[in-house]
Amino acid sequence: MTPESLVAASVAYVALMFLLAHAADRAAAAGRWRWMDRPVIYTLSLSVYCSAWTFYGAVGYASRSGLEFLTIYLGPGIVFSGAWWGLRRLVRVARMHRVTSIADLISSRFGKSAGLAALVTLIGVMAATPYIALQLQSVSMALSAFATPEHALPRNVSVWVALGLAAFAILFGTRNLAVDERHHGVVIAIAVEAVVKLAAFVAVGVFVIWGIADGPADVLARIDRMSVSAGGEGWPINPERWFTLILLSGAAVMVLPRMFHVLVVEASDEDRLRQAGWAFPAYLALMSFLVLPIAVVGADILPKGANPDLYVLDLPLSQGREALATLVFLGGFSSAMSMVVVSAIALSTMMANHWLVPLWLRLRQAALAGPARAPEDLGTLMLNARRLAILAIIGAGWLYHRMSGGTSALAAMGTVAFSGMAQVLPALVAGLLWRGATRRGAIAGVVGGTLIWTLLVFLPSLGLLAQPAMPAGIDPFAGAVLLALAVNLLLLVLISLMDFPEPAERLQSLSFVHAVAPDAAPGDGAPAVQPEALLTLAGRLWGNDHALETFRRAAESQGKGGYLPDLTPRFLADFERLLAGTVGAATAAALMTRVGGRGGVTVSDLMEVAGEASRAREDNRRLENTSAELARTAAMLRESNEKLTALSAQKDAFLGQISHELRTPMTSIRAFSEFLMEPDLPTEERARFAGIIHDEAGRMTRLLDDLLDLSVLEAGKARLKPGVFNLHDLIERALASAGAAASGRDFAIRRNIAAEHLPVITDQDRLLQVLINVITNARKYCSAEAPQIRIDCRRSPDGGTEIDIADNGPGISAGNQALIFEKFARLNDPARAGGAGLGLAICKEIMEFLGGSIAYLPGQGGACFRISLPPRPARRAENDENAAR
């Protein structure tokens, strides 16, 4: 193969990839992208980590420094073995915030800081420069391996390679302004290239292990021989480099712009890490363990002057395997191409979003919300900015390649890039795990670390500064990197600890650290912006159709027709996040401020958030209280309903009873008055019958008196005649009249005479009525063998008087206790009661009238009533009395 035919093959290969990517993009546009969205495609696209450095440089690295080359793959291996916890969280948070790049993530976490985004972009560009140079150098080196004296390599081949790759990146990365910054076509092309480079590397590895060497055992023996061979001086492991490089590569797999792009931005969900978590390390392990045989066999059989970076090509060529060598070249070209294209896309997005657009916004103070004048197409502006950025990035890589002389070992250039980008790691990790990390801390850390890296690593690698002088015994590279990272972390932590972050930043930190979806920012209550202005802005970025569709869906979700949703805080927050998916969080926030006049968040707004949460809790508690109260009320209602039903039955029974009570004397009065009409009635008979009529009329009068008394008391028309009396006298009189009225049974009366001598201020007649009624009841209903009545008197703590009257009878059952004070209630058989069942109802009314109460005391070994008197009668009654006077 001549270099010319290889170039032709490469061009054909690029064209093939182009067609593939184009077809995939078209399928995605038509909505048929499910098959591209598989975890296996995602895993293969991650292999963009294996650039030309892995393909060529790793073999050179291994033959110079032995197992140390493995550190570059062990770091990602460790990170991915913890993918479920770490990377999944990173992907979830980043997707939640529609992050477009590593710079966007850092800036978004630290309060959407435009400055931080620009700074991280700067580091990304600086670190990518040697990395892209590495790819260009590897392709031109690989071409030179095929060069023979008669087929000299064209001059400036690296320029053409750079231009070709830039064209490919521009064609794919900037075809349109994706809303979610995903590039289906590019991802498919990368996945296919991943297969190509793996196939090529496996082919050459198998050829070397079994074609040149005698299998794995022989390879191991050759490895052991390196300890004594001339080329093996670099092989013993250098502990500090071992540690530092594993740390760097572990960081690189997350923070390198291209890795962040395929790992986070192109991921449609975090679940695919379940497969990628083991499949990607497996891919890396396969690639990296094939490096060793190629390195040791190459060192054994190739001439001493051969460039170890080209062993992978030189070995098949030395054995006359042209076809294999061509496959290897295409594999190497694949790895270089995918790295440059993805890097260019990722970095150009960062540069455009974080450098060019903010600059443009600053330069143009023109109102963005005005009617869309045709030439002012923001989308086109963004795309052109990205195209320019791609050219600049690849151009810078080419420049680095020229300045470094195109002779450095590939791995050395790669580690420069890794250590530069790793300066973002402390801010990233702290930002995701520690709410206290602040913007100022992050900026200080990144600036400090990057300055040290620039002075001790980056500029020396270009030959612009001398290698730093480290204390003897310390590896200059490992020492410089660890120093930079330590200073970075220290500044971040110290300044964060002393800082008080802005409210917007605190909102973001909460959202990032706890992986909770960002809520609408507070303080957006009454936006001055019109929905039309936002629609115009969106139309300029995404094109009118897409913007209209987005707004229509938002309006629909609010239950509105048309294309103009209400500008609720939720919609504004979502809209800003959609914008962020295109232009980055900082720029989106700036645009929203510009268009909508959205003010910043203040500390009191933040407290408001907490206030809203606690208010919600408060409301909740109140609801619970209300419902408990409702339940209580319902229970009470049910109770009173039951009581009412029982009373209604009682009342019916009582009406029958009272009719009966009135009818019985009425009947006898009528009968005996008829007898009296008999003319020949003897005088004594006449007198007897008149006496009966008199008694029966008296019974009726008592009944009617009771009814009248009750109605007077209930209507509050009774008159109070208060006075001071000795309670003992009242009880004596009550006992006397009750005893006189009652049946002839002998009751033992147990009293504490001494305690009865209490002066009370009350209406004597009324109280007496109550006492007599209660004592009479006791006499009437107590069915004990040796009936007794117990009377206790005492002063209550509030100065009132309590009189307990108890008997030793059966008492009143719990079910009836609620009824006894009701009118018409009569519990026992009516024959024994002898009254109309109004006694206790009257007592209750009287006690209320006197300002006291009468209550049934359960559990006293019989029926027990407590009569409570207030220290003096209620004022209302006195007033009534005064008014009556």
Binding site: G66, S81, G82, A83, P281, V516
Partner: protein, 84 residues
């Protein structure tokens, strides 16, 4: 802010998932220990074929453990989303 109050106790399936998720955190720690400590401690023993075999075996174990755990974890169920 939608901070859900954490549930105090879980059913058997969710409980197993939590423990599996914790096991996935252990894998990188163990793997890092295997990869870092022996070569740093005894560089002369791990710089050649023995080191290569050691690292290959360790890595293969880590990949197998990750694959097994991720397989066992399965798709996250909606109710078990609050990790940590």
């Amino acid at each position: 802010m939608r901070l859900r109050p954490p549930r105090l106790f879980l059913g058997r399936t969710a409980y197993r998932r939590r423990r599996l998720a914790e096991a996935t955190r252990l894998v990188p720690v163990l793997f890092a220990a295997l990869v870092l400590i022996p070569p740093i401690w005894l560089p002369q023993h791990f710089s050649y074929a023995r080191g290569a075999v050691w690292l290959a075996v360790a890595w293969a174990l880590a990949i197998a453990a990750t694959a097994a755990l991720h397989r066992a974890l399965g798709r996250p169920s909606a109710e078990d989303e609050d990790d940590a």
